[in-house]
Each structure stands twice: as structure tokens, then as C-alpha cells.
């Protein structure tokens, strides 16, 4: 790949690490950028060069489009990979890259704009003979009530800038609309620098299934099978798997075929995902995610295709090295997102400083991680810390390995979604593959088990005993005063 020797990664965390690795595999020199708070992070440590951004707030840093283009030029990079989130689906950024003679690893600006115009994307899908749900163009506050009535309730408010569940609000009744509209706009502004939102009909008992697409600059588009993504909380995916369990083979073929038709109709280029809602045997096009997705590794595990390396090759002008009939999926893969959230406290963000990490490994386990000891988990960024991808010849084997890996995974310093995953992977509905978008609601605040209570009492007793004997554990934070007081009283 002679034209692509050096690439700037305009992102952070696990996806930046992922892109570094794809670069290494292709002999491309990866260049990192970092907000000051990320100076010691793995994506910086693994890159060939790294440039500091002026601030931690996204608009100073990872959303600072002119600076990123300038840094790419200074670093001698001929391409920029935007990862997901931040500027990944921003047509102006893609255009700015092109204008500067830097390849944007993703669809060209006009395709991003076409995919970002949700109404246009829906229209294109409908024209390609793919069923769609009722939805709107971007709506102003004044017209929202009328537009909502036309779409019908329940409906979702979604960010035009889109992606990652941010800015998505479910509205069940007209009275709830104004408050949710305001919150969704605020989130969209922060996450994507674009306050525009649109409305889309919501199906109550549906499953979320999406199809991975790769399209080269020569115009050939192939799909790499589907992913099931119905384990969601606050419209953020928690668990994804490939293939989708319980999907009728006929429906699967129709879905993947529809996805390729939508991609072709939109003139899609590079890696992308076509999202559908599935209810029974019916499916509806939702939208195009015009980026690499968090859950791409499950497709890599089942197809053997390196999607991020494919992105780089496509951006460098290479034709796809395989045809649709060469793509063979086998086995099963499940991804669990490890996020800094408190699953026992409504999945609220858990901020703090990571003071210990043990990541799982071994057969059938891949970990894509941005974690490091000393990391400050701040309010500025998405709470995703790492991903555990378990694969095996059968779904049963993949689930068993995922459980094993989650039990090995230890993160000290913040709450994580690990307890949720341990619960989910034991639920009959999940084990049987018979779950829909409401699955995660059954978690409630987490299980209460007498056995866990007994073990907690034993652990607490042993913990206190240990604290008495070894006053100084290597933590950064000072021990709260009440511990010292307790120690004194215990000693009497």
C-alpha cells in the first residue's frame, strides 16, 4: 500500500488502540492525538508519534477539526481515521480532509451528508424496495408536536449528528415531548456539535439487527452478515452478537440483501452499518451508521475479515480483495461492553481514577481496551472503557467463554457494567437467544441473592480485619476519616 505510509488517528480509547493495531498490521505508521487527560493512555503509548491537543473538552480536542487536519499535515500523515463518535460522521470534517489532500477513512463528505439526512436515507431505502418506519426530517421545536402526531407514538427523538445512543429519547405520549426534545438537543449539541434532532416511530417488541457493509471506491459493496444488538440500556448497546440468534434464514437473506441494496442506492463507500428493526419476520430500515462501529469485532470474529484494515485499504484506493461469495461466516461471537457506569445505580456514569486492572485473556477471548492504571475517568468522554469479545464454534461456547472472561476482568476505581453482563449471560432469555430490546429492563437494580449477602458479610469482615492489620494499601485517595475512627473503635 504505497500511498498510505502514515495515518493520524482522530480519536481516543479502545478504538484508537484498535486503529493503531490495524496500522501496524499493514505497515502504516500510526500517529496519535490526545487530550491532556489522555497523555498516558494506551493509544498514545502504542503510536509512533503523538500530538497533544489544547484541552480536555471535546471542542478543544477530539472535535477540533481544523487543528486535527493541521496536525495530520505536520505529522506527514496522508490519511485520518476518525474512529466512531466525535467527527466520524461529520461531512464538513471529511470535506476539510479532502480539501487538505488528506484521505478521510470513511465515506466521502457527500455520502456522509446523504446518510446524515435521515429522511433522505429513508427515502432512498424505500425507493430501493426496503421497508421503512415513519419518520421526519430534522424538526424545530415549533413543528415538533405536529410532526410527532404524524409519526405516531411511541416515537424516538434522535440526533441528526447521531450515534452511540446519545441524544436518543423515547417518547410515549405527546405531553412528554417538549422536555425530552430539550434534553436530546442539549446532548446532541455536546456530543456532535449539532443540536438538530428528528423523530422516528418506535416498535415496542422489536429486535435491533444490523448488517455490516464494506464498499470499495470501485463501487463494489458486500455485506459481512448481521449483528444482533437488542441488549440496550438508554438506547446504548451493552451486548452484541453475530450472527443474530433466532433469525429465520429467509429473513436473514432478505435483510442482508436489503442492506446491500441500501448501500448501493446511497453510493456508499468504506465500512458502514445498515440498521434495522425486526419484529417477527418483518423488518424495517432505520438508518445508516456511516462509520466503523463499536461492535465490529464480533463480525471480525465470525468472518475472519479485518474490518479496520479493510477501511484503510479502501481509503488507499484498493479494491476489495474478495467477493460476496467468498465471505464465509462460521462460529459465534459475543461482545460485552465494559463501561464506567454504575449498573446498580441506574447506569449513571461512574467517574474516578482507575487504580488497578486485570484484563482477561486465553482461548476464544479478545479484549480491545483503552484502560490503564492511573486513568482518570472524566465526564468529558464516553464511558466505554474496554470490550470483551468471546468467540467459539457455537453460541453456547461463546457464552461460556464470555462468562469466564468477565469473571477474570477486574477494574478498581470506578463502577463498571461487568455485574450487569454476569447477570445477563445467566438469564434464560439470553441463553435461549429469545430476547428483544426490553431485555435489559429486567435487570432492575440488579439481583438480590441471599448467597451474595452471606458472601458480602464474610468479605466485609475479612476486609475490615485486613485493614486493621495493614493500614496502608497502595491507593491514591486518602482513607476516609470514618475508617480510621472505626479502626480505633474496633481496637478498643
Amino acid at each position: 500500500m504505497p500511498p498510505l505510509r502514515r495515518l493520524l488517528i482522530a480519536n481516543r480509547g479502545e478504538i484508537a488502540v484498535r486503529i493503531v493495531r490495524a496500522c501496524r498490521d499493514l505497515g502504516v505508521s500510526p500517529v496519535a492525538v490526545y487530550a491532556p487527560i489522555d497523555a498516558d493512555s494506551p493509544h498514545v503509548r502504542l503510536a509512533d508519534d503523538a500530538f497533544a491537543l489544547p484541552g480536555d473538552a471535546p471542542h478543544d480536542g477530539y472535535l477540533n477539526a481544523p487543528l486535527l487536519v493541521d496536525l495530520a499535515r505536520r505529522a506527514g500523515a496522508s490519511a485520518i481515521h476518525p474512529g466512531y463518535g466525535f467527527l466520524a460522521e461529520n461531512p464538513a470534517f471529511a470535506a476539510a480532509c479532502e480539501a487538505a489532500g488528506i484521505a478521510f477513512v470513511g465515506p466521502p463528505a457527500e455520502v456522509l451528508a446523504r446518510c446524515g439526512d435521515k429522511a433522505a436515507a429513508r427515502a432512498a431505502a424505500a425507493e430501493a424496495g426496503v421497508p421503512v418506519l415513519p419518520g421526519t426530517d430534522p424538526v424545530g421545536d415549533d413543528e415538533a408536536a405536529r410532526a410527532a402526531r404524524a409519526v405516531g407514538f411511541p416515537l424516538l427523538i434522535k440526533a441528526v449528528g447521531g450515534g452511540g445512543g446519545k441524544g436518543i429519547h423515547l417518547v410515549r405520549a405527546p405531553a412528554e415531548l417538549p422536555a425530552h426534545l430539550r434534553l436530546a438537543r442539549g446532548e446532541a449539541q455536546t456530543a456532535f456539535g449539532d443540536p438538530r434532532v428528528y423523530l422516528e416511530r418506535w416498535l415496542e417488541r422489536s429486535r435491533h439487527v444490523e448488517v455490516q457493509i464494506l464498499a470499495d471506491q470501485q463501487g463494489r459493496a458486500v455485506h459481512l452478515g448481521e449483528r444482533a444488538c437488542s441488549v440496550q440500556r438508554r438506547h446504548q448497546k451493552l451486548i452484541e452478537e453475530a450472527p443474530a440468534p433466532g433469525l429465520d434464514p429467509g429473513v436473514r437473506d432478505a435483510l442482508t440483501d436489503a442492506a446491500v441494496r441500501v448501500a448501493t442506492a446511497l453510493g456508499y463507500r468504506n465500512a458502514g452499518t445498515i440498521e434495522f428493526l425486526v419484529e417477527g419476520d418483518a423488518f424495517y430500515f432505520l438508518e445508516v451508521n456511516a462509520r466503523i462501529q463499536v461492535e465490529h469485532p464480533v463480525t471480525e470474529a465470525t468472518t475472519g475479515v479485518d474490518l479496520v484494515a479493510s477501511q484503510l485499504l479502501i481509503a488507499a484506493g484498493e479494491p476489495l480483495p474478495f467477493r460476496q461469495e467468498d465471505v464465509r461466516a462460521s462460529g459465534w461471537a459475543i461482545e460485552c461492553r465494559i463501561s464506567a457506569e454504575d449498573p446498580h445505580g441506574g447506569f449513571l456514569p461512574s467517574l474516578g481514577r482507575i487504580d488497578g486492572v486485570v484484563e482477561p485473556a486465553g482461548p476464544g477471548i479478545r479484549v480491545d481496551s483503552g484502560l490503564w492504571v492511573g486513568q482518570t475517568v472524566s465526564r468529558h468522554f464516553d464511558p466505554l472503557l474496554a470490550k470483551v469479545i468471546a468467540s467459539g464454534p457455537t453460541r453456547e461456547a461463546a457464552i461460556a467463554r464470555a462468562r469466564r472472561a468477565l469473571a477474570e476482568f477486574a477494574v478498581s476505581g470506578v463502577d463498571t457494567t461487568i455485574p450487569f453482563h454476569l447477570w445477563a449471560l445467566e438469564q434464560p432469555a439470553f441463553v435461549q437467544g429469545a430476547y428483544d430490546v426490553h431485555f435489559a429492563e429486567q435487570w432492575g437494580g440488579g439481583p438480590t441473592l441471599p448467597e451474595a449477602e452471606r458472601l458480602a458479610v464474610l468479605a466485609a469482615a475479612a476486609w475490615f480485619h485486613r485493614k486493621r492489620q495493614r493500614p496502608a494499601l497502595p491507593t491514591d485517595g486518602a482513607s476516609p476519616a470514618w475508617i480510621a475512627a472505626a479502626r480505633q473503635e474496633v481496637l478498643r
Partner: protein, 192 residues
């Protein structure tokens, strides 16, 4: 009864978990501990697994990963998928949260549900607010959240300003409840 070395005195205290109170005695024996809960002795060992919070509890031939987090008032112990708040009595006097001097006992505090940034404060001091009405909008990790009023009432005091970073549990505002009929001023939520 477990044999005890002269230098290994038993420690006894009361542990409350899941609303149940247990008498607990801890006696060191070799590299492990004998923990007696409600008269039932169990050999346990707690080994560090990662950082300050992650441990491995060896008990009855099984190893259980546990996370122990210190919080105000006790410990949060995570065992597998379950989280158990544990407090230790006598040994652990739980600080009782009293109304501060500035807040009369009749007033209620509205606290931040998570650490974050104050985006807006739709209702000003002295203004009325309905139960469920938005007192503040807090943002963290690109997610915004309304902080609702637990009661209908009047804002007695606002303790933060927009753009301010707040800690989880920090008091944002103090509200004086209004009983039905006591105040017939129309009270609104965030739209007020």
C-alpha cells in the same frame, strides 16, 4: 471453638447487610480467618486481585471475585452480579446526615445524582416548583439529566450555578415543601 493464639484476639462486631443484622466474630487462623456469622464458623481468605477495590474471597473451596468500595456510611460489596451495601455497627458509627444550620428541618435537599456539570437551573430561588419539576439539568459523559424536585414547594436556596462542576450527592438546592392548599400560587416544573 477454634483454637486461638495468644496474639490473635477475636474481634466481634455487628454487620448489617440487606437489612439483616449479623453478629460476626473474626479469628485469625494460619493464613486464613475464621469468620463466625450467627454462630456458624466459616474459613475465609481475602487476597488482593487488582488495585484498592478488587479482591478474591476464598471460601469453602470456591474463589469468588468481590469488589469492596468504601462509601460514606459503610461499604458497597459487589459479588458477581449482586451489590450488597454493608454497614458495620459499633465498629462503624454511620454518620447521620443532619439538616445543616442554614436549612430548617422542614426543608428538603435536592442532590446531584451523579458527578457532572450544571447545564441549567430552570427555577430560581423563591420560585415555586411542582413535584417532578426540573430543579437542575446535570450533564456527564454527553448525557444530560433532569434533576426533579421530590415534592411540590418553593425553592428556598440554590447552592450551585450553571457551568459549575458538582460531585455526586452534592446539594444543588433546598426546597420548602408546600402542602396542598397551603399555597395556591400555581407551581410549575421546568417550564415555570
Amino acid at each position: 471453638m477454634t483454637a486461638r493464639g495468644a496474639g490473635d484476639p477475636a474481634v466481634t462486631f455487628e454487620v448489617t447487610a440487606g437489612g439483616r443484622r449479623h453478629g460476626v466474630e473474626v479469628v485469625p487462623s494460619n493464613s486464613a480467618l475464621t469468620v463466625t456469622v450467627g454462630g456458624q464458623p466459616t474459613a475465609v481468605r481475602l487476597d488482593p486481585a487488582a488495585g484498592s477495590e478488587c479482591w478474591r474471597l476464598w471460601v469453602e473451596g470456591l474463589a469468588v471475585p468481590v469488589r469492596v468500595r468504601e462509601v460514606a456510611g459503610g461499604l458497597l460489596v459487589t459479588v458477581g452480579a449482586a451489590r450488597v451495601p454493608v454497614s458495620v455497627r459499633r465498629a462503624l458509627p454511620i454518620p447521620i446526615r443532619r439538616a445543616t444550620a442554614a436549612t430548617s428541618a422542614d426543608c428538603l435537599e435536592v442532590r446531584a445524582p451523579m458527578p457532572g456539570l450544571i447545564v441549567s437551573l430552570p427555577v430560581g430561588a423563591g420560585e415555586p416548583v411542582a413535584e417532578g419539576g426540573t430543579v437542575a439539568v446535570v450533564e456527564a459523559m454527553k448525557m444530560q439529566m433532569d434533576v426533579p424536585s421530590p415534592v411540590s414547594g418553593r425553592i428556598e436556596e440554590i447552592r450551585v450555578r450553571p457551568g459549575q462542576e458538582v460531585a455526586g450527592g452534592q446539594v444543588l438546592a433546598v426546597i420548602r415543601p408546600v402542602r396542598a392548599g397551603e399555597d395556591d400560587t400555581s407551581v410549575g416544573g421546568s417550564g415555570a
